[in-house]
């Protein structure tokens, strides 16, 4: 319990750091982005919206930085992330709300599958060190060195195209309305197969390798030899003795590398024009839509923190030592 409280406190601290970072980044933007937006949308912006944007960009001349910071927190706690420039006049929170489920669905599920399958393969490769499986390791290294987005481009060129089963872009058939029905769900799944496969192929090898190395290290421990000497079955020693202990560092590694993985997978969305946060971020960057960029960064960070907390809970369940203290 103490462990979990410590971790939660740390994640709250990190969230605070990310929000503070988010507060200072737009203050580095040269010029007055709000003024240019106002002149572009003459008369279509309400006074409230202008006020909210000015707070976001720190352009309110009457406030010092500290007051601005408090004001920013006030807005944030009300769920007000400002107005999006590209989807004007939609608020950023609405835009993010529309795209978040897509990213959680695609990136979340593929990351978990990749971790589970990669770890299972790593157990096999580590236990059978020196067999033909070792020969596959350089190939997986090559696959993991390929940028995610480039693999996506190749996947589109090879598998998608006119008349192919796999669509090359989008999250669902044009003309369908997102809903949980018999038309939309199959279409969404069909559109997600190719991006998901891309993410799986390039992210899995990291897990295989780290699990293999942990298995090799654990296999030479004395308790493994004892387990063999007791005459336990090969399977039991491999899974209940070696894999069980080798798993722990892999789970904490999973938590730590989530930030990297999520960053890479967002790019797959860009290549496939998948309607998630990554694609939204890409559009926001192209249009210099600072409020949307910041909002997306904040949401991604907080999602990664929540995922980290879940990984910590998993660690707690796996490692009795953390429960005892």
């Amino acid at each position: 319990m103490r462990f979990l409280l410590q971790r939660t406190a740390f994640y709250l601290f990190t969230a605070w750091a990310a929000i503070t970072l988010n507060f200072f980044i737009p203050r580095l933007v040269p010029g007055d982005p709000v003024q240019s937006l106002i002149s572009r949308n003459q008369g279509r912006i309400s006074a409230d919206a202008i006020e909210s944007l000015r707070v976001l960009f720190g352009l309110d001349a009457n406030e010092n930085v500290w007051e601005q910071y408090l004001h920013y927190w006030g807005q944030l706690l009300h769920g007000d992330l400002g107005l999006s420039f590209t989807f004007f006049p939609a608020p950023v929170s609405t835009v993010i709300g529309d795209s978040l489920p897509w990213t959680v669905g695609l990136v979340g599920i593929t990351t978990i599958i990749s971790f589970l399958v990669g770890t299972a393969l790593g157990v096999g490769a580590g236990w059978r060190r020196g067999s033909w499986v070792d020969g596959l390791l350089p190939a997986t290294t090559f696959l993991s060195s390929i940028p995610y987005f480039w693999l996506g481009l190749v996947a589109i060129a090879v598998f998608a195209g006119p008349g192919s089963f796999f669509p090359s872009s989008g999250g669902y058939e044009a003309g369908l309305v997102p809903a949980f029905d018999g038309y939309f769900i199959p279409s969404a799944i069909q559109h997600s197969i190719l991006p998901a496969a891309t993410i799986l192929v390039s992210s899995m090898s990291g897990w295989i390798l780290s699990m293999r190395n942990m298995m090799v290290t654990v296999s030479s421990e004395d308790y493994i030899t004892v387990a063999h000497a007791k005459g336990l079955s090969e399977r039991r020693v491999a899974l209940s003795y070696a894999a069980r202990n080798a798993l722990l560092p892999n789970v904490s590694g999973f938590a730590l590398s989530l930030g990297f993985i999520v960053g890479g997978t967002l790019l797959v969305e860009i290549v496939f024009s998948y309607p998630g946060l990554g694609y939204q971020l890409f559009q926001a960057v192209g249009a210099k839509d600072y409020p949307l960029m910041q909002g997306i960064f904040l949401i991604i960070t907080i999602s990664v923190l929540v995922a980290n907390l879940l990984a910590d809970v998993a660690y707690l369940l796996l490692d009795p030592r953390t429960r005892k203290s």
Binding site: T14, P30, S144, S168, T217, L256
Partner: protein
């Protein structure tokens, strides 16, 4: 399994033990070729990468080895010229991140106490915050970021992993006997860190450096691909940016994006191989054992495992030949 036969041979072997690792050698050779092209690329490129010509969207041929773009630019020249930017950004960001990680990680591990708490919290925060979105946002604020700036941004955001690993290792080194002895003889803290602790961290620092270079190269190419960093200078991401923007896929122009991707993947593989070499150098267990199926004395075949010592079959092949050595 070759034993060094004579004393000079042994000395040589020890010095180049790291290079003797096949994976590391392969990686170093490939990396060397990339570095060579980073230096001479712009001079040996057959065409000006920006020069337009009448050969629009040509497939690879003898005149244009990797084909041409929609403006008739030679893609082979673009790849050669782009190598410099990729390597420079990778190395500068790698060096910067490594220096930061040594400063923060070793200090935190050696000093301990409140400074350690603060510095580890800082590196954990940087580790958990998704680096790539942060890099994208910071870079997009700057108009047309140059290579140097991109390298600085990447370096300043990617030191945390190295710092964490270095701190853990310093913690375990700090109470070793030889460090205590150095402290007892009155060596100053900076001397202990520089001459007693740092040499023992070399492998970890090297592997962290290589890892950061991989990350930096990927990030730079990503930034160029989504069009944030300057698109006026060439790197492999810029090539992919134009390929994507001009619908190279829909036009079937595979030669436009395949060479750049393979160049990136090969560089990444080379760096990863070097890292495997370092890992296996530090922890010999990780080496994939050569021949592990061995016939035992009772004629069964057994798979070798760490901790097992099978009784080998007394066949002439496996028994060492002591008699010949005794004879003369």
């Amino acid at each position: 399994m070759t034993q060094p036969s004579a004393a000079p041979g042994r000395a040589k072997r020890r010095r180049f033990r790291f290079v003797a690792n096949a994976k590391a050698t392969t990686g170093l050779v490939i990396l060397g070729i990339y570095c060579l092209f980073a230096v001479i690329g712009p001079w040996v490129a057959p065409y000006d990468p920006d020069a337009r010509s009448g050969d629009v969207l040509q497939a690879p041929s003898l005149r244009h080895w990797f084909g041409t773009t929609h403006l008739g630019q030679d893609i082979f020249s673009q790849i050669l010229v782009g190598a410099r930017s990729v390597m420079v950004v990778g190395l500068v960001a790698g060096v910067l991140a490594t220096i930061l990680s040594i400063l923060i990680g070793v200090t935190a591990g050696y000093i301990g106490g409140a400074a350690d708490e603060g510095l580890s919290a800082l590196s954990n925060v940087f580790l958990v915050i998704p680096a790539l979105p942060l890099i994208i946002i910071v870079t997009s604020i700057v108009e047309q970021a140059s290579d140097t700036l991109v390298a600085l941004i990447i370096g300043c955001t990617s030191w945390a992993w190295g710092a964490r690993v270095l701190r853990a290792q310093t913690l375990s080194l700090r109470r070793r006997d030889y460090v205590e002895a150095a402290r007892a003889t009155g060596e100053r803290p900076w001397r202990i860190i520089l001459f007693e602790i740092l040499p023992n961290l070399t492998a970890i620092i090297a592997s962290g450096f290589v890892g950061t270079v991989i990350f930096a190269v990927m990030s730079e190419i990503t930034l160029a691909f989504i069009g944030i960093s300057s698109i006026s200078s060439w790197n492999w991401g810029t090539i992919l940016f134009w390929a994507q923007g001009q619908q190279a896929l829909a036009q079937g122009a595979w030669w436009w994006f395949v060479p750049a991707g393979l160049a990136i993947a090969l560089l990444g593989t080379a760096l990863a191989l070097i890292n495997f070499g370092i890992d296996e150098f530090v922890s010999p267990r990780l080496r994939s054992a050569g021949r592990t199926r061995i016939r035992t004395a009772d004629g069964r075949s057994v798979r070798m495992r760490v901790g097992f010592t099978p009784v080998l079959a007394p066949t002439p092949r496996t028994v060492p030949v002591p008699r010949e050595e005794v004879a003369p």
